[in-house]
């Protein structure tokens, strides 16, 4: 069992569940299975923490009509949660700092990239993030080269955005992404299956071979 340290709102429907780490090891990009004692439900969430953090942060979208996420959001400091894992192979296997990484995410699919970037601060990367609303933009000063695509709330000019941003889905902005197509780059895609599938098609059409494309699906 692990104790909750804090619940931090990340704007919109997203929040960060911060829990004790208790020396739990993981590779940036992996996910854990979380549950609440006494409730027979678990769900998989990716860590956003860096390897050096003393706690574990999970980026979670509170799903309307969801089964576990709303219960997680209501947890209080010192409440206990179950953590199993880590799982998954969506991580940088042979770190090569000379390579450039293109990270493409939708929604909370950004989580593994946050962990990878925080853990490898000299990494050469571009991060592209598709969100529904302004509120879903991820805020962390450590994240550079961050471009956001906003599919709803397109005209909310009252919100100040410091990141580069575009209207529309990430998959409606292939013209912009075209300049990031290079055979020597590595492409990591994480998010819902239709975004990943469409992005895959886009990369394939641009002659990027599958050994340079790595995917993780969220659902």
């Amino acid at each position: 069992m692990y104790k909750v340290i804090d619940i931090i709102s990340n704007g919109g429907g997203n929040f960060i569940l911060r829990v004790e780490r208790n020396n739990l090891s993981f590779i940036p990009g992996q996910f854990f299975s979380l549950g609440i004692p006494g409730i027979p439900i678990n769900r998989e969430y990716s860590v956003t923490s860096s390897l050096n953090d003393i706690h574990l942060d999970f980026l979670i979208r509170e799903v309307e009509d969801g089964t576990l996420s709303s219960k997680l959001r209501k947890l209080k400091k010192n409440d206990e949660i179950k953590i199993l894992g880590p799982f998954g192979e969506f991580y940088l296997k042979k770190m090569d700092f000379k390579k450039k990484y293109i990270f493409i995410a939708s929604g909370t699919g950004i989580a593994p990239f946050i962990s990878i970037i925080k853990s490898n601060q000299n990494l050469d990367y571009e991060l592209f993030h598709g969100v529904r609303n302004f509120e879903d933009i991820y805020h962390d000063r450590i994240i550079k080269n961050y471009t956001v695509f906003i599919s709803r709330n397109k005209r909310d000019i009252s919100k100040k955005i410091t990141h580069k941003h575009f209207n529309g889905r990430i998959t409606e902005n292939f013209d912009f992404l075209q300049k990031y197509i290079k055979q020597e780059y590595l492409y990591f895609i994480c998010g819902n299956s239709s975004m990943v599938s469409d992005m895959y098609d886009f990369l394939e059409k641009n002659k990027i071979t599958s050994n340079k494309i790595f995917t993780e699906l969220f659902f």
Binding site: I39, I41, G88, E89, T209, I213
Partner: protein, 505 residues
């Protein structure tokens, strides 16, 4: 183009048959279960939709002898034959391909399946196979491949599509290694039931309480979790894809109203969960399909469904829930990367049985690390679950390394394999070094299967009748008979079949 999607009859010297179909383990049984290979059936459907002359050629389900099957396939004179393979029948399939190639030298032989997908060069070298599919999206890939073959007049030189390994005329093997891992399953075909002669699979299946039953077009291809080390749905080249609820319920409606199906099982690695599962149940109810005397079933994982969802599924007339327990020992569950512990198993089962669903547990023994204590944990836990009525049926098998899954690779890397003969991977005996004598695992299997004959178990089934649900009466009368037949068969296999040499042709 004439295209055959072929499953040769595989029969051993005892007359037992083996089925090969999509992430299902090959076992030899005298009373076989005829399973429809869903993705291959979708491939057949989409090729037919493209205008090709497609032969769904399942020699097992059509009750053909090998000779009759072979003769009729040669007579059909296909331009292309698609096979499916898995480790225990690789040698058999290679031999079959070679025999067919002698009779049909111009026919392109295509191999699919998880074994050849991981080791394509092996199949291309050891048989006259022309093309190996490197993706589990057989339907998507076959469409692209047939389009290209059509354009090139069946010439195998310089194929441009991704996801294939093939042999050129000069015998050079080309493996492009590259393929799209994520396909949008909403663009796949719903199975043409008439094309695949669905009735051949509608009766001989122990999981159906009512017949005719059928398997739905899977709503999730592969597995949403996809990390269990022994499973084929694992690895960076395997991903998953989810179908829209409406598309699936449309198929259920068609199967019930036009094919008069009485039980539908979705064999997705893991079925919908959360709001998707609830919305599916609501859609079934809103169309009145829950009142059409048809049960529904699916595979799931422990801790994937909450009480509200289970209650809704029950209202929608869901019955059969297949869950991989795998072990009653937490160390084993952790090594398998199952993502749950035995403590949480009971609560999920309690909820399922509270709402009158019938959980079916799949269990394995004989892991290379499994000690006597771990094995006893599993046996005693399974007994507890069955005697207390938390599970209704079970299936126990020997954990057999297959198709170069992570578990298989671990066994190879640790030099634990006791055989290099693929024929030995048929689950009739243990083929890895273990901490205790193999006989101990076989005894454990027999002990768990014998639960079906134990007075405590039978009494528990009788108590279920107090629910006054039709399904419980059916279970006791019809299903018990079938279960006992199958239990006897499993026990027979463990005592006799492993001694037999498989008839390879």
């Amino acid at each position: 183009m004439k295209i055959a999607i072929s499953f040769p009859p595989i029969i051993n010297s005892l007359g037992q048959k083996a089925m090969v179909s999509q992430n299902r383990n090959v076992q030899y049984f005298s009373v076989p279960t005829y399973l429809l290979g869903i993705i291959h059936a979708q491939a057949a459907t989409s090729l037919k939709e493209m205008g090709h002359d497609v032969l769904w050629d399942d020699g097992n389900a059509k009750l053909k002898s090998y000779d009759v099957w072979f003769h009729e396939l040669v007579e059909f004179k296909p331009k292309v034959i698609l096979f499916e393979s898995t480790t225990p029948v690789m040698k058999f399939i290679w031999n079959t391909v070679d025999q067919l190639k002698n009779k049909l030298p111009e026919t392109i032989m295509i191999m699919s399946g998880y074994h050849s997908m991981k080791m394509p060069e092996e199949t291309l070298k050891n048989s006259k196979t022309d093309v190996v599919l490197l993706s589990n999206h057989v339907d998507f890939l076959m469409k692209k491949l047939i389009l290209e073959l059509d354009l090139k007049n069946n010439n195998l030189e310089n194929l441009e599509i991704d996801g294939v390994a093939y042999v050129k005329k000069n015998k050079e093997i080309i493996n492009n290694k590259s393929f799209k891992k994520v396909e949008n399953i909403n663009n796949s075909s719903i199975i043409d039931r008439d094309l695949v002669e669905w009735k051949n699979y509608a009766y001989e299946n122990g999981n159906f309480l009512q017949v005719p039953g059928t398997y739905a077009t899977s709503v999730i291809r592969d597995c949403t979790f996809g990390k269990c080390t022994f499973c084929r749905y694992n690895g960076p080249e395997i991903s998953f894809s989810i179908m829209q609820i409406k598309k699936s319920v449309d198929e259920y409606e068609n199967l019930i109203n036009n094919y008069h199906v009485k039980e539908i099982f979705d064999d997705s690695g893991v079925w919908y969960r959360g709001s998707d599962a609830r919305n599916f149940a609501k859609e079934i109810i809103s169309r009145g399909l829950h009142k059409k005397n048809c049960y529904f079933g699916f595979n799931t994982r422990f801790e994937y469904l909450d009480e509200e969802t289970i209650k809704l599924l029950s209202e929608a007339n869901f019955r059969f829930v297949l869950i991989g327990l795998e072990s009653g020992n937490d160390i084993t569950l952790e090594k398998l990367k199952k993502g749950y512990t035995r403590e949480t198993v009971k609560e999920t089962l309690r909820l399922l049985t509270k709402y009158n669903l019938h959980p079916h547990l799949t269990i394995m023994v004989g892991y290379y690390w499994e000690t006597k204590e771990m094995l006893n944990d599993t046996v005693s836990f399974v007994k507890y679950l069955m005697f207390s009525g938390l599970a209704r049926t079970l299936q126990v098998t020997l954990c057999t390394p297959l198709d170069y899954t992570p578990y298989h690779q671990e066994c190879i890397d640790k030099k634990l394999m006791l055989t290099e003969d693929y024929n030995d991977h048929d689950m009739s005996k243990l083929i890895v070094k273990t901490p205790i004598n193999h006989e101990e695992y076989y005894r454990a299997i027999k002990e768990m299967y014998s639960i079906a004959f134990h007075p405590k178990f039978i009494l528990r089934q009788i108590k279920f009748l107090l629910n006054f649900k039709k399904r419980d009466w059916q279970f006791l009368i019809t299903y018990s008979f079938r279960a006992i037949r199958r239990v006897r068969q499993h026990i027979f296999n463990l005592t006799n079949a492993s001694k037999l040499k498989k008839n390879e042709t």
